[in-house]
């Protein structure tokens, strides 16, 4: 696989290093002269000097034959435009963009640039996973397929606690796919499985149904 990485900061340099270690062909593009000279000592011919938003720089790096373009500069507008030309001008099939400011994610979406990786959002997701007593965890988002998988802990006194799966009123477009009782192995429930307070349940759902679902399992703002 041939990968072009634009932006030789901490993210870009480490990424290039790891990819090279995994026997991938990599060109890193860095526009700061000093940074480029420093990186060149280590990566030698695998780094090129230039502004990766300029077409000739991308062409010199061989964007026409790139399997993947990764834009990880510190400027969101640069990352968006690098990916836009990679995708739309050079027909590169796979792109990955770094989003530095989560408020700019809307611009990435507007122009169809994705996946866009935001460190802030990654850490927020980790916090969601790590903080106990936090009702709802997004396990998987599949935006193209319009599906999500969430994990929610059943709170004592919630409408679903102590009920059979068939008696829990879930909105259309959602399904309990797994029950994880505390300290025991998880399993796929049948319609007569009884959900207990303290269990964690995995639910697949259409986006936007979270509120209706948490009201069954963890009402009264036990999440969020």
């Amino acid at each position: 696989m041939y990968v072009i990485v634009v932006g030789g900061g901490k993210v870009g340099l480490n990424l290039a290093r790891e990819l090279i270690r995994n026997d991938q062909e990599v060109t890193l593009v860095e526009q700061d002269r000093q940074a480029y000279l420093r990186i060149e000592q280590e990566l030698e011919h695998a780094v090129q000097y230039g502004d990766g938003t300029e077409l000739w720089v991308l062409e010199r790096a061989g964007i026409q034959r790139a399997d993947l373009v990764v834009a990880v500069t510190g400027d969101d507008e640069d990352n968006i435009l690098i990916c836009q030309v990679a995708k739309e001008k050079y027909l590169c099939e796979r792109i990955i963009a770094r989003c530095n400011n989560p408020r700019n994610l809307q611009h990435f979406k507007l122009l169809g640039i994705g996946p866009a990786v935001s460190a802030t959002d990654l850490i927020l997701n980790l916090i969601e996973h790590e903080v106990p007593g936090h009702g709802l965890v997004h396990l998987l988002d599949l935006p193209d397929e319009q599906l999500e998988i969430i994990e929610v802990e059943v709170v004592a006194g919630a409408p679903a606690a102590g009920r059979q799966v068939s008696d829990i009123s879930l909105p259309e477009g959602s399904l309990i796919i797994s029950v994880l009782p505390r300290g025991k192995a998880g399993f796929v429930p049948t319609s007569d499985t009884v959900i207990q307070a303290g269990d964690e349940v995995l639910i697949v759902l259409d986006p936007g149904l979270e509120q209706a679902i948490t009201s069954q399992f963890a009402p009264n703002g036990a999440h969020g």
């Binding site: 938003t53 077409l55 400027d75 507008e77 640069d78 435009l81 700019n104 611009h107 507007l110």
Partner: protein, 143 residues
Amino acid sequence: MMVLVVGAGRVGSAVAKSALAAGHTVSVLDADPLSHERLDAGETTSWEDSGGRFTVGTAIEIDALFAAGIEEADIFIAATRGDNTNILVAQIAQKRFGVPRVIVRVLDPARSDWYAEQGLHTICAVKYAIEMFKNAVLEPVER
């Protein structure tokens, strides 16, 4: 017409002034509060007294665009010093807000051409400069 000019540099401020003089409603957005001085320079009344609007904010911050009135804009001009900022903010104006006329300053000739093919109205001063230099260089020298 409501004209929103992003970037009050030499180009942006001059275009804003002439649009105001032509009777348009003009709003200017720039990250640097001092850029306002360019709008006042050489005028007898201040920019605001002449009816102009000025907002301090970064072009790609959506809140700044709202504050500067992008929703009412009929004409949008992206004229910051950064090509990438201009190309991005122009696409936001065109695709998200549906501004009917979007004009974007791009210094890099190659990308000016490509984005023009994609439907942006780009203006590349560098291309004109190169053309004029070429003509001047190729003119016969009399000595």
